[in-house]
């Protein structure tokens, strides 16, 4: 893990150029090809340098929050840092939700904000906001520059921090005088850093051996795999280990796609809206191998009854996640990829493999007793059906983005994710309005793939202005709005836990296909189940043919609840099962 690479100063005096030029040069040095942003007063020198350079793609966003989510979508689709740039004050504060979202979901984002000139700092100047102070808790790190000579080294460090270890957002605040002043410092590769993603923690061999001993001698193991597996590009290692040892895998919301959802060993998603059989398997497990997952409350439910018998093997690149929620019997601080590979190598050296046949038989009975499913209704589109239809027309590498709420959970439950980076969703922060801009960012990153945003009407409306962005830049995302004219998840909770008092959870219900057309996008209304499949096919075909976003306004049954469901704070095994078809 120690990387003794030397400093990379690369500080041969170059021709004098402005701090703003150094910003653009630094972005090139980091391999940035596209930035999302919105120009304004204090960032204008950088935009002037951008204009002078002429080689960076810039996408003007409708709202800076949208820009932050686009950068997130870009990052989640690629693993590279997404870049968003705004002016000072409100432009910068509008990033706050996106940065908090990126922090919670470990998404690498570099945010560049203008700032009032240094001599006005602290004076409540026009459009001044203390972005370093405001974003301290919601960034992995942040900077405010005091000299153009710092630009090159700080940008190099910022990109390193954003993508290395446990990824996260980094903000760089640029007072206007810093971008205007001249510097001779050319771009740097990383003066103070160990460098690149080279410093990957492999996990301590002793702990890996201890984990192997536990696995060898257990009877009812489960692998709980989170988003860290995706960040670490460790899906192949996860699959190889699970298959070699015949251990079932449950993938968290952030982890969906890290293991094939249709694999015989897949238990689906655990937790509040997870499958009954995943929650039962976790509850009955005697060894729980938790990898790249932080055991948040939506996964564990009531902590004491989450996996009460299990010895926890916790693998995480962030040491602070280990023993944060549950004490780990075996803590492994390391990147999921080398650690899972080492576990497999260790297991392959065994003379015989443990037989988990009896455990699989028990799990099979749970699958039979508590299947996923719903009762179809004549002439009405159920949101679950809509998700299944979308799943059927999408390719394995195509990308799904969601907002937050019922539609998000239905997507997690009924879309079959087979590949990493195919689900982009706001897990930790639960940011409504994430979907459309994140989908735009993903499509910009991966133009060769289909990108669908499965959204709710409440979520869609929160960043609907980005339709304008998608039309302008001809970014052909398909938005499937599952419209129930309600804040569906809130309504569900009100129905179940507040004696059906539907306080302020109904929404105005404009025709979103018409909204789309007004923006210059394509739109279609879908009301009957039999129209779903043809409308989806039309949407993807039309989007690509005309290079325009398409909005499907899909009327769904507002009474449908997300099940299974564990009431908040209760043990996960107290789930309310799905109401399935009579058989």
């Amino acid at each position: 893990m120690k990387n003794h690479s030397q400093r990379h100063h690369h500080r041969a005096p170059g021709p004098r150029h402005s701090g703003a030029d150094a910003v653009i040069a630094s972005l090139h040095a980091q391999g940035v090809e596209v930035i999302f942003g919105m120009v304004g007063g204090q960032i204008m020198p950088v935009y002037d340098a951008l204009h002078r350079d002429g080689k960076l793609r810039h996408i003007i966003v409708g709202h800076e929050q949208g820009g932050a989510h686009m950068a997130e979508g870009f990052a989640r689709a690629t693993g590279k840092a997404g870049v968003v740039m705004t002016t000072s004050g409100p432009g910068a504060t509008n990033l706050v939700t996106g940065l908090a979202d990126a922090m919670m979901d470990s998404t690498p984002v570099v945010a560049i904000t203008g700032q009032v000139p240094s001599h006005l700092l602290g004076n409540d100047a026009f459009q001044e906001a203390d972005m370093r102070g405001i974003t301290m808790p919601i960034t992995k790190h942040n900077y405010q520059l005091t000299s153009p000579d710092q630009v090159a080294s700080v940008f190099a460090e910022a990109f390193h921090i954003a993508v290395s270890g446990r990824p996260g957002p980094v903000l760089i605040d640029l007072p206007k005088d810093v971008t205007v002043a001249q510097t001779e410092v050319a771009s740097a590769l990383g003066p103070r850093l160990a460098g690149g993603r080279g410093a990957v923690a492999k996990g301590h061999p002793m702990q890996i051996e201890r984990a192997l001993q536990l696995i060898k001698n257990c009877r009812q193991p489960v692998i709980l795999a989170g988003g860290g597996v995706i960040h670490a590009e460790a899906s192949a290692e996860l699959k190889a280990l699970a298959e070699y040892l015949d251990i079932p895998v449950t993938s968290t919301l952030m982890g969906l796609g890290n293991f094939p959802g249709d694999h015989r060993l897949s238990l689906g998603m655990p937790g509040m809206h997870g499958t009954g059989y995943a929650n039962l398997a976790l509850y009955n497990s005697d060894v729980l191998i938790c990898v790249g997952c932080r055991l948040d409350d939506r996964v564990t439910g009531q902590l004491e009854s989450f996996a009460p018998q299990a010895k926890l093997v916790h693998i995480d690149v962030d040491a602070s996640e280990i023993s944060k929620c549950l004490p780990a019997a075996v803590p492994i601080v390391g990147d999921a990829k080398p650690v899972l590979a080492a576990l497999l190598t260790g297991a392959q050296a065994w003379e015989s493999r443990p037989d988990f046949g009896a455990w699989h038989k028990v799990m099979a009975t749970w699958r039979q007793k508590y299947p996923m499913g719903y009762r179809a209704k004549d002439g009405v589109i159920l949101p679950q059906q809509a998700v299944q239809e979308i799943s059927a027309v999408m390719g394995e590498e195509d990308i799904v983005v969601t907002g937050v709420g019922q539609h998000q959970m239905f997507t997690a439950q009924y879309y079959t994710f087979r590949r990493p980076r195919t689900l982009i969703t706001s897990g930790g922060l639960g940011t409504m309005g994430f979907g459309l801009p994140a989908a735009i960012g993903a499509k910009v990153a991966r133009p060769e793939r289909r990108v669908v945003c499965i959204d709710g009407d409440g979520s869609f409306l929160m960043n609907v202005q980005e339709l304008c962005t998608a039309v302008r830049y001809r970014i052909p995302v398909v938005v499937a709005v599952l419209k129930n004219c309600n804040l569906g998840m809130v309504r569900q909770w009100q129905h179940m836990f507040f004696e059906q008092r539907h306080s302020q959870s109904d929404l105005a219900c404009p025709p979103y296909d018409q909204v789309a057309k007004a923006f210059g996008a394509l739109g279609r209304r879908v009301e009957r189940p039999e129209d779903l499949s043809p409308s989806l096919r039309w949407a993807f075909q039309a989007a690509e043919a005309q290079q325009l976003p398409v909005v499907l306004d899909i009327m769904v049954d507002p009474e449908e609840a997300v099940l299974p469901m564990v009431p908040a704070g209760e043990p996960n095994i107290n789930f309310i099962p799905c109401r399935v078809e009579e058989r």
């Binding site: 120690k2 990387n3 992995k140 790190h141 390193h160 290395s164 850093l193 160990a194 702990q207 040491a319």
Partner: protein, 193 residues
């Protein structure tokens, strides 16, 4: 078991680093008993002495969270290890002439200094560990404490071991990082030398 956990923390000497450390501990609900910060022999590096109250799980989590900060170079846990701990207090007591000698006598016992005296008051300067300072304060109370100010505790391990930036440091005996963790780089894989 609730106890006071002293830790020594090397940080990059950057603007805002105190706010980062204090803010992190506050928002994650750690109880900061005292925090002192100052320069080190190296101008790029500052050293914080932080005393957090809590059980061992709290201590472990506090250390791990501190290590996540980019500006944090090293964290050394001094709980249960031989170390020197010092703080300073200035205590202004009411001191009419007839009581001066009693106060001076007490100050001598505590090896405290009288740093100011006038018609009606004295400032007593006492340094030492927490217990000593608190004992001194208790002794001054009956005279009438007019005002008082205390520094946070500063802490340093005993012995030849030295907490310095990577490459120069002599590890503390028993200061091996948790298996799998590397104490020379922080969690961000950033190396300081």
């Amino acid at each position: 078991m609730e106890r006071l956990n002293p830790m020594a923390v090397l940080v990059r000497n950057e603007p805002g680093v105190l706010a980062r450390v204090a803010g992190l501990l506050a928002r994650r609900g750690f109880n900061i008993h005292s925090l002192a910060v100052g320069e080190t022999e190296s101008p790029d590096v500052s050293r914080m002495s932080i005393v957090v109250s809590g059980d061992s799980a709290v201590r472990e989590q506090a250390i791990k969270q501190l290590r996540r900060l980019v500006d944090v170079i090293r964290v050394t846990d001094l709980t249960g290890r031989p170390h020197v701990e010092r703080g300073l207090a200035l205590i202004k007591v009411a001191a009419p002439s007839e009581r001066r000698s009693a106060i001076i006598e007490l100050a001598n016992i505590f090896r405290a200094a009288i740093t100011h005296v006038d018609q009606g008051s004295m400032i007593v300067e006492v340094s030492g560990n927490r217990n000593k300072i608190e004992a001194m304060i208790d002794m001054m109370r009956p005279f009438g404490i007019l005002e008082m100010v205390r520094t946070g505790q500063i802490v340093m391990a005993r012995g030849q071991a030295a907490l310095r930036v990577a490459g120069q440091s002599v590890p503390l005996a028993g200061d091996e990082p948790e298996p799998g963790q590397d104490d020379q780089t922080n969690d961000n894989g950033i190396q300081y030398n």
